[in-house]
């Protein structure tokens, strides 16, 4: 289980990115849904130890997510991945795996992984020759190289063609069958509706909803429910702001 407890993140040069975020997640596929800049990536980066929360804690199976024990259980695919361009796909995967202190020769494992993401034929090409979609696939493969229990994917389907999206989704569903837990950051509602068991709606660093997709949509489309929620939230914020200004002017 991944447990976020009163997590707040304030960047040095910006206002607060995540506000008092608390959530427990223990479902096969959990989707973080929100607009660009809502705070999804910040939450994911804090979870995998790339950023330190300003306050609060993130636990993976009861252990801080930045602990080595937790990190060994996790795989992470960043949004818009960048690589060492002169490495081949196979070399990059080997490098990623070596950071997990496993020494046995796992060439067969790498080949299987690269095959599952459709990169087997390109495994010995330099990454600089890869298309955007191929880079996404390689980033996905490296997130799985340590056979993680928890997989964090930040916009994993961006840049993929329809066939590629289908293949990636099949891999994710395969992982679900194996009992892995997947965290998916996306702003594509259709992907959430199709893939996720539960969803967390994030807006301006605040968690507005966490629960099942059906429970959120209440019979309407996810898109309609999502936009209604955001508009309602913005409306409340504006009303509060207006109310405060009104009170000040009266005072």
């Amino acid at each position: 289980m991944v447990e976020f407890s009163h997590v707040t993140k304030t960047y040095k040069k910006r206002k607060s990115a995540v506000n008092d975020f608390s959530l427990k997640v223990d479902v096969p596929i959990f989707g973080f849904l929100g607009q660009n800049g809502a705070g999804k990536t910040t939450i994911m980066k804090m979870t995998v130890g790339l950023l330190a929360p300003t306050s609060g804690s993130i636990l993976v199976d009861g252990i801080p997510s930045t602990d080595t024990v937790s990190k060994k259980k996790m795989g992470f695919m960043p949004e818009t991945p960048y690589f060492h361009e002169r490495m081949t796909g196979m070399e990059f995967l080997t490098f990623a795996d070596e950071l997990f202190e496993k020494t046995s020769d796992k060439k067969a494992h790498y080949e299987k992984l690269l095959t599952s993401v459709g990169l087997r034929d390109a495994r010995n090409f330099e990454i600089r020759t890869y298309s955007k979609g191929m880079r996404q696939r390689l980033a996905f493969a490296q997130a799985l190289v340590n056979d993680p229990q928890y997989v964090f994917l930040d916009e994993p389907l961006d840049g993929l063609d329809p066939l590629g999206r289908r293949e990636m989704k099949e891999v994710m569903l395969g992982l679900k069958k194996e009992g892995k837990k997947i965290f998916l950051n996306t702003h594509i509602l259709y992907d959430v509706e199709e893939m996720c068991d539960e969803v967390g709606i994030i807006h301006a660093g605040n968690l507005l909803y966490a629960g099942t997709v059906k429970g959120f949509a209440h019979g309407t489309s996810l898109e309609e429910a999502f936009t209604n929620m955001l508009m309602e939230h913005e409306g409340k914020k504006a009303a509060n702001h207006h109310g405060r200004e009104h009170a000040v002017s009266h005072a």
Partner: protein, 254 residues
Amino acid sequence: MRNIWVVAKNTFKLEVREKILYAIIVFAVLYMLSSLFLADLVLKELPMVKSFALAGTYFFNAILALFLGTTSFFKDVDRKVVYFVLSKPVTRAQFLLGKFLGLCLVLLATTAIFMVAYLGVIGYEGGGFDVMGIVAIALQYVEMVLFIAFATFVSTFSTSLLSIVYTSAVFFAGHIVSALVADAQAIHITGLKYRLVQALYYIFPNLEKFDIRDFAVHAIALPASTFVLAVAYAAVYATLLLVAGIWIFNHKEI
């Protein structure tokens, strides 16, 4: 320690694939070979040839150290390649030290190539196996390690271009501070001005400690203590720079 080695190995593998590295090595070797023509010009005077060749090994290694030190670490952080590494059981300190070690290994390889070229040229000119030349090049390498440590430190808070400016400035300052102190003493500068010169002497690395070209050129034996002290000085200075770099990198939002 294992993760440092994995990052170092990967850094080495990546940097030796940089085409610019080979361009510099080719230029350096051609420069060394040109010493043979110089030898004819200076009537086979071996000290001149040695001086010319050692200046070459120093110059080209300095260019390489500047290029590698100011770009490798910065690129990985700036282009977010570091996300892949730091999301795994690798600390920021391990990553930084791994990059540093990897770059030192690249420079060790190029220094070895330059050394072979140097020994070849000196041997051809009848200088035999130039042990002092080897010691001089070894100390040049130690200086370059310090140079890389400084460039890596600066890269933790600065852009690649600014790192080049800072590192070059420190490089030049490091070569003139000891002369500055000597000059200040010679012309009897005292008081605040002298303290300022002294402060500069202690702040900037004293890179003249690593320059033993005169010993090599004239085949004068170098006291072992001079060599050991220079290496110890570089080790302490580089350690301080790396510790400071790790502290900054640990507090950096990536």
